[in-house]
């Protein structure tokens, strides 16, 4: 049953060193604030799962939290490379990163299998691709009726799934809308689910058939307004495309990245302070006409 707590408590309670953690949100509602808190608490050896690692995992990987990454597309959307991800893969910095690599269809299906409590999912996929040669969680099976060959992917079952949503009510029921990604599947597949929300309200005002996670399948609810920045929360704020663009320069260089991380994440107590410091950085960058987030 959903328990309301601070983000610090939620991360320290549910995310342990070595855990398998999924932080989902397809471009929309990415739980950045939770990512910063994981970095701040210096978690290590995590297996990170996420279809699109995005800047959030670039930060976690660069901060040395991850040992392994299960993913399907690792770029900075609309901008280019994830430099910290590349540095870990290409040069083992700050430590080597083991990759378990899918296509979107494959990893989305693996989440579905996790939510369905099945050990695998079947899809028309990967035929002719080299991916199955490097990922043993992709195999091929035959249809018991037609003998047709189809791909199978092993289910993903995170220890903890972390998502960000627009609203929760006081009971802990969670409502999200807009681009939904695989959040519901990731939540249902996990042993524990942490949800950060823009706000906690008396009445969700949900429409019929809304994407709602009932309180009784959520472990922790944390009110973290703005917690999806620089991604967006439909109905609350837009995507901060300038941050994504500015990230390219910050992350390209190890020192710049480390300085940014130290100042914004490691030297701040929580997301509120992070936001204050980030606001100062951005104000300075704006005045100088440079592109720092």
């Amino acid at each position: 049953m959903a328990e309301r707590m601070s983000l610090r408590e939620a991360i320290s309670g549910y995310v342990t060193d070595g855990a398998t953690v999924a932080m989902e949100g397809f471009t929309h509602l990415i739980p950045f604030a939770a990512g910063y808190e994981v970095i701040r608490q210096r978690r290590r050896d995590l297996t990170l799962i996420r279809m699109t690692p995005d800047v959030i995992y670039d930060q976690l990987i660069g901060a040395g939290c991850a040992r392994r990454l299960i993913f399907s597309w690792g770029g900075n959307p609309g901008v280019g490379s994830l430099h910290r991800l590349r540095d870990a893969v290409e040069h083992g910095w700050p430590q080597p990163l083991e990759l378990l690599e899918h296509s979107h269809a494959g990893l989305a299906s693996a989440y579905v299998a996790g939510a369905e409590h099945l050990p695998f999912a079947v899809l028309r996929g990967y035929a002719g691709s080299d991916l199955p040669r490097y990922n043993d969680d992709i195999r091929f099976i035959r249809c018991p009726f037609t003998d047709e060959e189809l791909a199978a992917v092993r289910a993903v079952q995170p220890d903890v799934t972390i998502i960000h949503a627009q609203k929760a009510d006081r009971k802990g029921n969670v409502l999200l809308w807009g681009i939904l990604g695989v959040q519901k599947e990731a939540a249902l597949a996990a042993r524990h689910t942490i949800v950060t929300v823009e706000e906690i309200v008396d009445d969700l005002g949900a429409w019929p058939n809304a994407a709602l996670l009932p309180a009784w399948i959520v472990s922790a609810i944390c009110e973290v307004p703005g917690g999806a920045h620089p991604s967006y929360a439909q109905g609350y704020y837009e995507r901060d495309n300038r941050f994504y663009q500015a990230w390219d320069a910050i992350a390209r260089d190890r020192q710049t990245f480390q300085a940014w991380l130290q100042r914004h994440v490691l030297d701040t107590a929580d997301y509120a302070e992070f936001s204050r410091v980030l606001g100062e950085t951005q104000a300075v960058a704006g005045a100088e006409g440079t592109a720092a987030p």
Binding site: L82, G106, R124
Partner: protein, 262 residues
Amino acid sequence: MTTPDSSQDYTASEMMTITAARLLKNGMSCFVGIGLPSLAANLARLTHAPDLVLIYESGPIGAKPRVLPLSIGDGELAETADTIVATPEIFRYWLQGGHIDVGFLGAAQIDRFGNLNTTVIGPYDQPKVRLPGAGGAPEIAGSARRVFVMLRQSARAFVPKLDFITSVGYLDGGDARARLGLTGAGPVAIITDLCVLEPEPPSHEFVVTSIHPGVTRERIVAATGWPIRFAATARATEPPSEAELRTLRELQQRGGAAHGEG
């Protein structure tokens, strides 16, 4: 299409986008990646194909963005869509389900049979350049009724042999793709900044079928890492019309302004 003003200037990139847009027919359902494919598909929607159905892998079905999205999941796509479904549904019900007429793909490397690499340059375990990876491409390549590839032409990208096959075209040609039992027909056109290539039966090797204005055959040969061939019927690409160019530029300006460029 209006007659283009011959004095009109346009870039190779604009020619490429406009050529791709022209291949999209009104009413088609189109699975769109971000960047050039999204630009081309929206250009088609704003010119000759107003009922083109744009589907983004993040979930929006029937998106009608007024401003070009920077990411595959911008709010603009969600707000203008007929509906938005979860990502597993997009891939399993809509793409795999056989409801996508056209899939649009790009790549870092392509070979003569239209196979694509978006995973790695160099060996997988010792990468020279780690690329973003597969995304939706392998299953778009397999399940969309037909695939268009958009890619700037260079000998670095058009290679004799891929470092990694992320998504299949015709594999090593002939009936190799057919033997995989895929439901989609595979890549039917590669649209570059220099020309259009189409697969030539029965080998399915891509050959040049349309050459953009002002581009020489020598330039295409130099920009291709294999001995590229020209179809006997290769023709000249029709230059951009004034309406195409104007619509494309307006679209890009709105996008640039929205994303804080310029």
